[in-house]
Amino acid sequence: MVLDVTANGPDGKKIFQTSRIYSAQATDSRSTQTALGPDKKLGLIRDTSIQPFAPKEETIEIPLPEGMKDAVIEVSLRYQPRPGNIYPIHKVVRNVSLDRTK
């Protein structure tokens, strides 16, 4: 499960991008490197997955370049069991501005 947050300027150029991966993570219990595949995984060392009865909250601060007053924020959540295999879940787009008259 991947949360992507991006910000684009009024010209469409990307000014910020960050991601959060929500997943249980396992090693082979012989090293500190996480393993991929059930034939290698053996024991969780970290779990950032989305838990029942426990909302997953993020606060992301996006600095705006000097002089920029407007931006387009895009937040998306996707399930990606393998690279390139994407199941879109949510996509929220917001236009934000420092200009109170807008």
Binding site: M1, L3, V5, A7, Y22, S23, A24, A26, G37, P38, D39, K40, K41, L42, G43, L44, D47, S49, I50, Q51, P52, F53, A54, P55, K56, E57, E58, T59, I60, E61, I62, P63, L64, E66, M68, K69, A71, I73, V75, L77, Y79, P81, R82, N85, Y87, P88, I89, H90, V92, R94, V96, S97, L98
Partner: protein, 296 residues
Amino acid sequence: MKLLQRKDKQGRWAVSLLAVLFLLTPGTFVYGETPTQASTLAELIAMYDSSSCKECHEQIYEQWEKSHHARPLMGMDDWIFMASYLKRGPLAIKTGQKATKANFPCFKCHLPQIKHATDGVAAEIADAILKDDKPTVRKLNISCLVCHNEKAVVHGRPEKNVVYGNKDLPDHQGFPVKKSPLLKDSLMCGQCHGLGPNLEFETPVQCGTLYGSYLHAYIPSGGTQTCQECHMKNADHYMPPDFNKRDELSARLRESLPMEVQTLAYTFQPVEDKVFPMVVVKTKITSKAGHRIPDG
């Protein structure tokens, strides 16, 4: 001489008749208290063939046919997921050797009936997988008999020639139905849908940990629903999610994981001579599921 020939002919007739009966009456003698070991792949497939259930339970059978339980060795988009494990990694078949059941710890859940088969059957399955023989591999499934006999009882072994259900039906066509309360309990699903590492194998593996999450995160938080209440509503044997139906899975995840987004654009002035124009994005994802997401 003529007597011997007649006896031989009668013997062949008897063998043929037994073979026909075996094919027409799947599972009659092989699963249950003291299971016979299947010595060929064809035998194992016949032992757990549940196609005769369709005659009376057509709707349920068709729901099941669309489910991942009908194709537990096929991954997403119809590829045989075990192929890569048999070619490389700790479960790979060593050069010059045939596969044995030790190469298939995944079958604990993906083909639990393998415990009633010989290593020769495992070798046949490995050959089919490595040849990408999908028609054969598709015949290996979590059939009606796997859940309604083999996995339907945990206190002792299931009885021979019995199918288990939610009520006693002694006159049920085929085999009598005996009530097993386990079928409505989350433990039924938990037998395969994961507690954590499977350490009983020579090569230990870890696949889904979903039932562990249900037990140790959902239940302690006050959750009360069973797996069946969410994944088998109205006894639907389709048992979503279906990872091949991409839009359907996206919609299911959208419903299970509502997301709120708040945005604030402002200029922060922490000290007299400095200002930081910025946007603050707050996200909140709530889960309605009875287990961690993702898991399996």
